[in-house]
Symmetry: C3
Subunit: 372 residues, 3 copies
Amino acid sequence: MTGTRIVNTLHAQEIARILDATIIGTADCSVSGADFIERATATQLAFVGCKRNLKRASASKALLIIAPETVRDYLDDYPGRTFLLVSEPEVAFLKIVGLILPARPRRSVGISSQAVVAASASVGSKTNIHPFATVGKDVVIGECCEIEPGAVIGDGCTVGDDVRIGANTVLYRETVVGDRVTIDAGSVIGSAGFGYRTVNGRHDRLLHAGNVRICDDVEIGACTTIDRAKMGSTVIGTGTRIDNQVMIAHNCQIGEHNLLVSQSGIAGSSSTGAYVVCAGQAGVADHVHLGDGAIVGAKTGIHRDMPGGQKYLGIPARPADQHARETMALKRLPEMRSTVKDLQKQVAILQEQMARQISAADSRVGGQEKAA
Amino acid sequence: MTGTRIVNTLHAQEIARILDATIIGTADCSVSGADFIERATATQLAFVGCKRNLKRASASKALLIIAPETVRDYLDDYPGRTFLLVSEPEVAFLKIVGLILPARPRRSVGISSQAVVAASASVGSKTNIHPFATVGKDVVIGECCEIEPGAVIGDGCTVGDDVRIGANTVLYRETVVGDRVTIDAGSVIGSAGFGYRTVNGRHDRLLHAGNVRICDDVEIGACTTIDRAKMGSTVIGTGTRIDNQVMIAHNCQIGEHNLLVSQSGIAGSSSTGAYVVCAGQAGVADHVHLGDGAIVGAKTGIHRDMPGGQKYLGIPARPADQHARETMALKRLPEMRSTVKDLQKQVAILQEQMARQISAADSRVGGQEKAA
Amino acid sequence: MTGTRIVNTLHAQEIARILDATIIGTADCSVSGADFIERATATQLAFVGCKRNLKRASASKALLIIAPETVRDYLDDYPGRTFLLVSEPEVAFLKIVGLILPARPRRSVGISSQAVVAASASVGSKTNIHPFATVGKDVVIGECCEIEPGAVIGDGCTVGDDVRIGANTVLYRETVVGDRVTIDAGSVIGSAGFGYRTVNGRHDRLLHAGNVRICDDVEIGACTTIDRAKMGSTVIGTGTRIDNQVMIAHNCQIGEHNLLVSQSGIAGSSSTGAYVVCAGQAGVADHVHLGDGAIVGAKTGIHRDMPGGQKYLGIPARPADQHARETMALKRLPEMRSTVKDLQKQVAILQEQMARQISAADSRVGGQEKAA
């Protein structure tokens, strides 16, 4: 996996110390690489994510294996190996991989002669502007940014420090981007929103005089679109993570530390509190609010304001437990249907029997009356 | 919001005249800016969208406020302010904002020396071709167009007058674009459709010899894809508006003045009448027709021809009122489930009681017979 | 449709021979073009796809028409025309269109002086690198490839022979692309996946040290995104076809000869067998497996492992026949609801009648006891 890249060598004891891991085994080995447990060699670090996968260690050549604390009592079957026990094996593993494979040093290339940068633009030190990028009039870009090939920074945009604008991503005019923001390739930020008013059979576009404001520490994926506001700003709150192919419409106010998963979409003027999650392909209607910590399940359709702190599922969305009851009831519906048909028959029989009983009783009374 | 842009000053009387508004108040003020009512200053225009939001006027510094006619009887609580009453406050507000903030004058830059334009291409007067745009062989582009940075106009394309092709948008070969069309950034028009025929376990691509034809006055958003036809043209009808991240497959015939909202998708060879609406994340299957004025709700899945003039919801789609009844019934299904269980018990009790009655009657008859 | 392109002339007998078609008619005509049956002229080939559309032949000027074998007994009404009967009319038609309109000869333009190619990159013979494309360090590109305008090939990527990388498509670092692969415009391959771990209220990005590997003979549409793996590779299997706006998350293992239709999405670490189909707007959750030949219907949401060889529908997904039963039951639910209400009334009446019968019987027994 590591190809020809220079790697660091780390000793088992050092890794254990970094991870604050419990050592099971001798821990007298070093690693200078890492791979999945099926493929790892004797000098590569490996990991087991859960107890169920522990048996993969039998066939592995790996000598040093990160594993969850829950496997502690099952390690006698794997002699000759050192296990480092932690609470989150994959996270720990990737942390050490990051130390073994040092981050590629950032190359300072400055402003490419094949980029177009307006004379009135200001570009901070150590910022790279790659070939075929375009930087418009009155743009301000901070320090240590990467403006990748083909990116377009429209007139009047402001970009903070340590920002990466992906290849062929477009920021339309007056977009404001905070510090430590990543916007991956192919995204479009600040295009006019889908706001029309139908007059005499024509859909006339409403003015979109606002912009998009992306706060600090936001990360945005590839091919995502965020439209600018009619007035004021469409806002993406601090620390929020947006996946690929997400759509955020005009005037949305996305809160802090949200997670918006791929192919989800949020319609115009909607807002979210802090720590809201929209799972894949979820949709949120326009002018609604999702409270702090609301979790919108995959493919769910939010159609009205929803309080925070709980999970929603279904189209239209309802609390997850209600949705589960309905889904279960729906699953049993065909069976219930035959139950109801049975009941209809049984009731019909009872009615017939009852009619006969009543008639018999009547005739008995009649007979007695006659007898009397 | 207006930054350093030059703005116009408008007097309240003039604004009232432009909007044909009813004036409540003295109307002896002027504005030279506009903002949301929470933020507007004494010299900025503000608006209230509905009666519910009228109370926001109390804390506002704004002296001139556009409001709906429905608040007329509730304005005594807001002395010292002038209200302009109209039927559509936001539309009226944005109209005046457009007058206060004059549209940026279109800069004439001609054909950038950093663009590539084929010798056989024809480019109309006052058309701007920005850096890193590519214009292929035999392309014809009309007058007053913007071909934004990085846009790719493939061989044989025809583009009308007053067209904007967004940054990094791609028109594949022989795409035909009418007059006054906008295609926003990152869209791809005219790529080969997803048409395969499986032969001996391989999916062989069918020929896509057709193109895409976009009629006059169409507006298309960012990161939208429209595939070219196998034969003939995929057509987008006059005046239709398409949002971001919409997918239109090969051979679709989209009617006039449609509204196709973000993340909706229309599969191959389907067609729509005039004034069809597809809300966000809606899907339309292949080879189906939606009649004039059909409205497809958010996340709805159309699987067969649907007559126009009504709204559809659900997967699979059904008329909205039927969908509402079913959704309501589904919501009550768990409750109905316990009702049915109760009924089963009650019927079982009745059956037992009936059996006893019948047996008692039988023994009575038997006794009488014996007695007889 | 064919504009000014040079076309070949084909005789009816020759076409029949190529298609192994049954000739009904004289077959003494030639065609030098092709169009839909409504528009075809006397020298253009046309086709009828199914029996229902045969009547369109009446008004057509076309003399040579490809049609399905099922219309054989209905052709007496269309004298003067020659029909060529085949099993798949559209496929046959497009095959002949491909012969009439010869494929545009591939122009060899080599490496554009307006492209940027790193000194350490290796580019095969007859490969075209178009203007404003960027090829990074240590990239290896095979023979006869098209790297379209604005495409970005990141450092360390490997691209096979006969590959087309669409305009403005981005391959991030170390992406591996096999032979005979097409990736259409505006796609992004190899961006870091959406993998975070929340620590002290911050979503910290996990290391994404892996890459994307696209096997031979894969075709990928426009504006599709495929994220790179945390470790190892996100893999797209041989012969798989991916439509526009599809999302494949980090570490997915997509099998061979899959068909992934537009706007479908597959979440992290999921895998598919061979010949899996995901219809439009389908979604697959993370860490699940779809068996060989599984068919996921449009808008369906797969939430757990599903065996192959059958079709799934619904959210959450269930086998298609179960889904059909539930949908039908749901449709009849409002009616069933009134049935249950009726039953409740009928049971209440029965209970009342029964109470009266029991009470009458008791008093009778009491009476008899008294009498005795």
